[in-house]
Subunit: 358 residues, 2 copies
């Protein structure tokens, strides 16, 4: 593997001094990019995800076109349910009845001990070989330009989909299952955790320089429930991975967990970062984490719809709030399809142009 | 008007000593109650809302059947757009094309200065006479058993619907409008605020003992945006109302605003309370508000799907966290249709049975 020409992301994760923060955007390879839309119109979702050449091409687009400091492999968090033997239908997939406008659908949900026992957790390297191949190919094509990020869904978030089978405003069935079947819940969360650790280790081996764990629905949990249902599994993953690859945990909405999650990272020495959304100010996030962990975030993606000078002003204020060191500039959630490419570029440029007044 | 036999809610709002906290549930008159479903199957949404006898009957159901310490008038936050001259279609309404499963639809959204200028803010007492009549009738039927709560949507939340015309996961069009047209945004927010103040004053005159302002979508705003788009209007409403009727502000998800909102309530002397959801612990909410304001909340409605002994244990822990004084036991969001009536009753009973260990 060639040495990285731009290693800002790795430096920020190792808490080394940087001249400016690295910047990338969640969902940066996606629906706001015209070249992505061309591929989307030509190939269905799983063809794009399962064909390494297509996944690689999509992954590289924002590096070439928007100038981000990291690539994140084009894939989906629901490949883990698939690798466990659960059918997943995606919107727009030909030959299915999932409407274009709806989210993913898992026709057979997990409801019993037998369902859980039947889930496979072995063989992730074969079952998800296409992701590992896509990572290897992308790593080669990147040729050291920027680091490559791998990812997986967090156990709680995958649990939500396995139990409910589709998106939910409340995830109340997943919560109900956890309240009425605590033992089965922890069995299932542990199975997801075990396969996710194997999957992320395989990603690191295949070329991922960093991995991010997306807990998209952790913020639906109360602080007490988060400690039972999300935190132990996030920490288990971070602990298992940290000697293999730097880890970014993104428990969206769970600002209340910042203190404990930052303390669970052995004295803040490990290359573990926490991603946050915009429901907390940068300064308060720093306060809660005692300035000892790398933070990532937290620009409201809706702000990318504002006029460009306004975007640039807000980016500056955001970096003022986080500080330049131990910080990864990013959005607080995925970029949305309506964002003009120029506005995404302005976000990235504003980080690159950052000059502190202080 | 007859004197209240149960004035726990008013005592908690006036920060007077109580033996136990008052308890009610957001959306307590609704889809989890079989008697409500019978009326829903017989009359469409606006018939239920606009017929004082029906609204009264629905409002009384949870008082009679679940034993809550307050009634909240059966109505909808979107009556304000209607009173402003905007058409609102509701799911299941006969003769419209809004599907049963979808939320409300406002076919003509607000986009221009002319649209805003055309909005009516006068005549709310005539335009929403049916709500005032329903309040008067319900007050009479309650005969002093428990206080009656009136309500309205908060300006930011109403703004979201006026701009976008339907529900949204991100409210990014409403935010985009606010970023690109700040002057029009504040004109519109002020018009909504002005009519809402008149509406809530009329509700107090018609019999509401307390009013609650629902900012259902404030939590989608960053702390900085909340201060610009939500807070000034919430405070304006609270200030205008506090000499007429106690006010509960419920900026859902905006835990970050607790400190400032509690400080904006003149030294905590006014009968103003803040409702919170379950994304913050009771103890931290108390810390942020310096124990000087009445708090309401914050049980995750999904927890009502747990076994009853578990519900009772959690309710006790919640009250331990908030303390008995200056506290209104409630959910952190509306009760959901799947909750068994016995579980809702268990929630209410647990509050009534509360004994502190301390």
């Amino acid at each position: 593997m060639s040495k990285l020409k731009n290693d800002l992301l790795l430096k920020a994760l190792r808490k080394e001094k940087v001249e400016r923060p690295p910047v990338w955007m969640m969902r940066q390879a996606g629906r706001y990019l015209p070249d992505y839309i061309k591929l989307r119109d030509k190939y269905d979702f799983f063809t794009r995800v399962q064909t390494p050449e297509l996944a690689c091409e999509i992954t590289l687009q924002p590096v070439d076109q928007v100038g981000v400091d990291a690539a994140i492999i084009f894939s989906d968090i629901l490949v883990i349910p698939q690798a466990m033997g659960v059918e997943v239908l995606m919107p727009g997939r030909s030959g299915t009845d999932v409407e274009e406008s709806k989210g993913p659908l898992l026709p057979k949900t997990i409801q019993t001990k037998k369902d859980i026992d039947n889930l496979t957790i072995d063989g992730v390297e074969e079952n998800l070989k296409y992701v590992l191949d896509a990572l290897g190919l992308t790593k080669k094509e990147l040729n050291g330009r920027v680091p490559l990020i791998g990812f997986a869904g967090a156990p709680w978030t995958i649990f939500c989909y396995l139990i409910e089978g589709k998106g939910s405003k409340t995830w109340e069935k997943a919560k109900q299952f956890s309240y009425t079947h605590p033992d089965l819940t922890h069995q299932l969360l542990q199975k997801i955790t075990t396969i996710t650790i194997a999957y992320l280790k395989a990603q690191a081996k295949a070329g991922a320089d960093v991995v991010q764990v997306f807990d998209s629905w952790s913020g639906m949990l109360s602080p007490e429930d988060f400690k039972i249902l999300a935190q132990p599994y996030l920490v288990q993953i971070a602990d298992a991975l940290k000697e293999h690859v730097p880890v970014i945990l993104f428990p969206k909405g769970s600002w209340y967990a910042l203190r404990e999650l930052s303390e669970s990272s052995a004295n803040g020495i490990d290359p573990i970062a926490i991603g946050i959304d915009w429901s907390i100010t940068p300064r308060f996030a720093r306060e809660l984490t005692h300035n000892k962990i790398t933070l990532q975030g937290n620009f409201d993606p809706a702000k990318l719809l504002a006029p460009i000078p306004q975007i640039k002003k807000w980016v500056k204020e955001m970096i003022d709030g986080f500080g330049v060191q131990q910080y990864i500039a990013n959005l607080g959630h995925g970029i949305t399809p309506n964002v003009p490419v120029d506005h995404a570029k302005a976000f990235v440029e504003a980080v690159k142009e950052y000059q502190s007044d202080r």
